[in-house]
């Protein structure tokens, strides 16, 4: 009896504090050599220098609901610019009293996007839902029927414009990119060379050049009085640009396919289209989900370049807001707000792609 108690007492002696818990973890990971110790200390110093002032600025000293005059007197961040100006930042020049319309359009779009996240919902009815949703959004934005006042596309701006340019840009660019990739792999010399020339030409110039071409050079070739909508011109440029990059990503996937796959498809008697549709593309596109999504994310952010051709996308409306002398000094706050919106959009895409990858993972 006695013996057992001693053993129990011995086994319940705890290891020294210095090797378990927070201290132990810190010793093992942060201070395990003199070099790492110095790095840890330097990092802590940096954080101590940066975080408290930022918290002070952003939260403690900040103003949330005030006038610009109060903001100028205050030390901290002036988040008041957001409640004061959010409608202009989000909707730009869209007629003030009708701004519920682009708001509703965005809600529809976000709703559709979230609904489509679940692969169980991928049925024919979803395609119809998108079709109806897009038509509804277009009607809401444009108006002109059902008692809605007509609003010209030149007045569209802010978040709806950014989403419009990216969603349409990406959905149109993706199939085009896949076609270009297949064309580049084609054995027909005409198609192959056309695709190669297109891809290399587009990849050889920056997006800004394409936007300038579409907005400055292109109109000079049109006859007097004929003008193609500036948004459409930018949209086409974005689609052309993104498609070329997607094409190269998809080509990577196609080249990664083992020859056995082609041969197996052929031996089953499948023709070219069946081979591609049933065997090759499903696998190839799955492999390239990560690079495709990163391409799409950068395309979404690239839409902010339309600033230079004076389209009022989210970034431009923010800049215009900042040209109001009352709020001129508070650019950091406004840009942080816009950055958060961009982050939300991009994070949605990347988290969705991760999920899609997991769901489609067949262990190959």
């Amino acid at each position: 009896m006695d013996n057992t108690t001693t053993i129990d007492a011995k086994s319940s002696v705890k290891p020294p504090v210095s090797s378990v818990g927070v201290v132990g973890w810190a010793r093992a990971n942060l201070f395990n050599s003199w070099f790492n110790s110095i790095l840890t200390l330097l990092t802590l110093l940096l954080l101590w220098k940066v975080i408290p002032p930022f918290v002070n600025w952003a939260f403690i000293d900040s103003l949330w609901w005030s006038t610009s005059a109060e903001c100028k007197a205050a030390e901290g961040a002036c988040w008041s610019i957001i409640p004061a100006k959010y409608r202009y930042i989000l909707f730009g020049l869209y007629p003030y009293d009708s701004q519920w319309r682009p708001f509703l359009a965005i809600i529809i779009l976000i709703g559709l996007l979230f609904y489509s996240r679940n692969r169980a919902h991928w049925k024919k009815s979803l395609a119809y839902a998108w079709l109806v949703g897009l038509i509804l959004m277009g009607l809401l934005l444009r108006g002109g029927i059902l008692g809605l006042a007509s609003v010209e596309s030149t007045l569209w701006g802010g978040l709806p414009l950014t989403l419009l340019l990216s969603v349409f840009g990406l959905t149109a660019a993706y199939p085009l990119g896949v076609l270009l990739a297949l064309g580049r792999q084609s054995e027909m010399p005409a198609i192959k060379s056309i695709c190669i020339i297109y891809i290399e030409m587009i990849r050889g110039v920056p997006l800004i050049t394409l936007l300038f071409m579409s907005s400055i050079v292109f109109p000079l070739f049109l006859p007097e009085g004929v003008s193609i909508n500036a948004i459409l011109r930018a949209q086409v440029a974005i689609i052309m640009f993104t498609a070329a990059y997607i094409a190269e990503v998809v080509r990577g996937g196609l080249q990664g396919m083992a020859t056995g796959q082609f041969e197996a498809a052929e031996s089953l008697g499948l023709n070219y289209y069946q081979t591609m549709r049933l065997v090759i593309l499903p696998q190839a596109l799955k492999i390239v989900i990560p690079p495709t999504v990163s391409q799409l994310i950068s395309a979404l952010k690239d839409t902010s370049l339309v600033v230079i051709i004076a389209l009022y996308d989210l970034l431009k409306t923010t800049q215009t807001t900042l040209s109001d002398p009352d709020w001129m000094g508070f650019s950091s706050e406004a840009y942080i707000f816009v950055a958060l919106i961009y982050f939300a959009c991009c994070y949605f895409m990347s988290s969705y792609s991760r999920r899609l990858e997991e769901e489609l993972d067949t262990g190959l």
Partner: protein, 384 residues
């Protein structure tokens, strides 16, 4: 018989000879002729080419005439004026929170609409960047460019534009913190200068420093608001920009009293509305719409007293407001065009004070933009 034969042979020989000589002669003559003919032919071809060239030129001119000579008709058919404006420039062209366009340039466009349609609201605005503004006008996307554009010889000629009456005389100046202790721009040797890139401002300041044998280090920042922020944070000693902007920039400083604008103006920036080259009628309309605002101020007519002034017996006022007819017809407009401008938009003084004057955030004095009678440059030819 033999004789006969011989003779025959002779004749035949002679005939052959004659024919041969003649042939040769013809040949020579023919050769000469064909030479002449080919010369003539080439001349004819040349002339024909000249004629077709002339015809082509004529056609091109006709096409241009059709294209640019009908701005007024196009505008009337559309029912509104498409005006190119800045979009970001407080006091000149910018939409407020509710999307209502305001500014000196916007009011200029409104004045043109008031003149053409009798309704200042019949304007649609196209916001343009410094890079897209001229193309938009050249390609016919807009009817008039009222976007704080400096009139220069190059733009007026090579770019195919026509500038109208100046609606704002600007110039480039310097904003400094008072603690710099500088009284003139000539003392700025070695200064770090905050400047916007890609504008004439950047060139002007470089020229100014070089001309005065001084050194500068430019701090170039793309955006006006960011530029001001950098300046107030002390990243540069001096901020240079159009004088119209400096007052506004100073006003948004954390402590405006710590900053001053130097008296030196280093460039001439006459800001004027522009139209496409070659449409004189439209140019006249834009021109006299701006001039009408200036003339109204000179005659003491404001948006408030314009109805009373209709009963004035002053012949200048009567002609101006269209009580005595003639001006409108000459321009191809309604006789009441000047009345409509003043009634709906105001005279130049009102427009100036409303958008950029001392009571606005920009707080600009009239200065060069005062009437000539007050020592400024605003001068209108008589309306008669």
């Amino acid at each position: 018989m033999q004789m006969k034969n011989w003779l025959r042979g002779k004749v035949a020989k002679a005939a052959v000879l004659i024919v041969g000589v003649l042939f040769l002669a013809f040949c020579f003559a023919g050769c000469g002729d064909s030479k002449k003919a080919s010369e003539l032919e080439s001349k004819v071809a040349e002339l024909q080419k000249t004629v077709s060239d002339l015809e082509k030129q004529n056609k091109e001119l006709e096409a241009k005439k059709v294209a640019v000579g009908k701005t007024l008709e196009n505008v009337r058919a559309k029912g509104f004026i498409q005006a190119g404006v800045n979009g970001d420039l407080f006091g000149f062209g910018r939409a407020d929170d509710k999307g209502v366009w305001k500014g000196l340039d916007v009011d200029t466009a409104r004045a043109i609409a008031a003149a053409v349609f009798g309704d200042a609201d019949k304007v649609k605005y196209t916001p343009l960047t410094a890079k897209t503004r001229f193309t938009a006008l050249q390609s016919g996307e807009i009817d008039v460019l009222t976007r704080n554009c400096t009139q220069t010889l190059g733009r007026d000629t090579a770019l195919g534009l026509d500038f109208c009456q100046v609606n704002y005389y600007d110039g480039q100046g310097f904003l400094i913190p008072k603690k710099l202790g500088v009284k003139s721009a000539k003392e700025l040797d070695g200064a770090a200068v905050c400047v916007l890139p890609g504008t004439t401002t950047e060139l002007n300041v470089a020229d100014f420093f070089r001309a005065n044998g001084m050194k500068m280090s430019p701090v170039v920042i793309e955006n006006t608001a960011e530029l001001a922020k950098a300046f107030f944070a002390g990243r540069c000693d001096v901020l240079t920009s159009d004088a119209s902007q400096l007052a506004g920039t100073r006003a948004v400083a954390p402590n405006p009293k710590d900053y001053m604008i130097l008296p030196d103006i280093i460039s001439k920036e006459p800001l004027a509305p522009a139209v496409r080259h070659g449409d004189n009628q439209w140019k006249d309309i834009v021109n006299y719409s701006v001039l009408a605002m200036i003339n109204a101020e000179e005659l003491g007519i404001t948006s408030k007293n314009v109805d009373k002034m209709l009963k004035s017996k002053d012949p200048r006022v009567m002609r101006f407001l269209g009580v005595t007819e003639g001006n409108g017809k000459a321009l191809g407009l309604n006789e009441k065009f000047a009345y409509n401008i003043v009634k709906q938009v105001g005279n130049y003084g009102e427009v100036f004070e409303r958008n950029v004057g001392v009571n606005t955030a920009l707080g600009i004095e009239r200065g060069l933009n005062a009437l000539w009678t007050n020592g400024g440059l605003m001068y209108s030819p008589p309306f008669k």
